[in-house]
Amino acid sequence: MIKEVHMPKLSPKSDEYFFGKWDKQPGDSVKTGDVLFEVETEKAISQVESQEDGILKAQEVAAGETTKVGDLVATIEVA
């Protein structure tokens, strides 16, 4: 089954985040709590963790892009 990862709300002030980097690549196995990616907003760096156990299937956002709360960021294939 494919689970979608959407951009969570991290800042009370802003819904738009600078996408910093991926910590997992497509094909990597991920566990709940593993850091998937990092974003920056309002001078703060936040790491977003996986809520699933599975394999990272696709990255839908690239480093340096702007993402908004709710955007599809990645898909994870879970058993």
Binding site: P12, E40, T41, K43, I45, S46, V61, A62, T66, D71
Partner: protein, 327 residues
């Protein structure tokens, strides 16, 4: 609250201390640090050094340069000012500058210095910045650190920080020098060391913090972390260094667009990176991939750009503007 006195003026040591506390020591209660540095520029995590820093001036004056793990812009400070750090154990991943800034402004107020908090989480005096803050979060901890200008060398600050020339031209941002002010204006009889001491006392009183110290084994660990995470090399490394050409322009109503690229010996794109502060949901990786291998000629590139922007537009941008930027 724990207060850890910091004697080192080496920014790499002090950033390593923060990182050590966050990732290895993992304290069960908040930790407060107050520290100073030799003349130092501190770059935000995702900034490009070449756009921000006046490298010849930095090298000629032996100014330390370091990349923070926190976000935001570049700051300059020296022993005329100081830095504060607040590390808080928390499972809440929401960004929060309020608690740290209210503590610092409360302590400043107690020693007779009045500041206001602006919308960008800076402390200001009559609209002029005296303190900038940034954050990073790791598993279970939030770090909030910031600078305070008391009698810092604002002349050097102006020389060291390069306002992005593209933006400066288009948006007329005045220089950093004009937008900052030293707190010494409010306490003209104090030295910077006295200011720091007064602030330290006020912070300890307000928080009722216990003073603690690192062991010598922990101090040696900091040297390893400093070399691993806060090296000089990490400052000057940026994506654009891998490219032969960088074309950058400010387009009114769109923002800054930069295209960095390299060509192979057949004059075809061998690498390309598009970046900027424009608004779009475009998948830039896919866009860049579509241009790889194309000949560096407007007639070869235009159809690709038109096709990509038709699929996902960049707000306000016409395909021909991007083509023009490339050639």
């Amino acid at each position: 609250m724990i207060y850890l006195p910091v004697d080192s003026l080496d920014v790499r040591h002090n950033f390593a201390l923060e990182y050590y506390l966050m990732t290895e020591k993992r304290p069960s209660e908040p930790v407060l640090l107050l520290w100073s540095t030799t003349p130092t520029v501190m770059l935000g995590k995702y900034q490009t050094a070449e756009n921000e820093l006046n490298r010849p001036f930095i090298e000629a004056n032996h100014i330390a340069a370091v990349r923070r793990l926190s976000g935001g812009g570049t700051i300059y400070n020296d022993q005329g000012g100081c830095q504060f750090t607040l590390i808080t154990p928390t499972q809440d991943t929401t960004i929060d500058f309020t608690s740290g800034l209210s503590l610092v402004s409360q302590a400043l107020n107690r020693i007779g210095i009045k500041t206001q908090n602006d919308s960008r989480n800076d402390l200001v005096v009559d609209g002029r910045k005296v303190s900038g803050s940034a954050q990073y979060m790791t598993d279970g901890f939030r770090l909030h650190h910031g600078s305070l200008l008391f009698n810092s060398n604002l002349n050097w600050m102006a020389h060291v920080l390069k306002v992005d020339p593209v933006k400066l031209k288009a948006k007329h941002i005045s220089s950093v020098h004009q937008r900052t002010v030293n707190l010494i204006e409010q306490q003209p009889n104090w030295t910077a060391a006295e200011f720091k001491q007064q602030l330290e006392h006020a912070l300890i009183e307000i928080t009722n913090a216990k003073t603690d110290y690192l062991t010598s084994a922990e101090e040696s660990r900091l040297r390893v972390i400093a070399a691993e995470h806060f090296s000089e090399a990490a400052v000057w490394h940026s994506d654009h260094r891998d490219f032969d050409h960088v074309h950058k322009r400010y387009l009114k109503g769109i923002g800054v667009i930069a295209v960095a690229f390299s060509l192979d010996h057949h004059q075809r794109f061998s690498a390309i990176k598009i970046s900027g502060d424009f608004f779009s949901n475009i998948n830039l990786q896919r866009f860049e991939q579509a241009l790889i291998g194309k000949t560096y000629q407007p007639q070869a590139v235009t159809p690709v750009i038109e096709h990509q922007l038709r699929q996902t537009p960049i707000k306000g941008l016409q395909p021909e503007q991007l083509t023009e930027l490339l050639f």
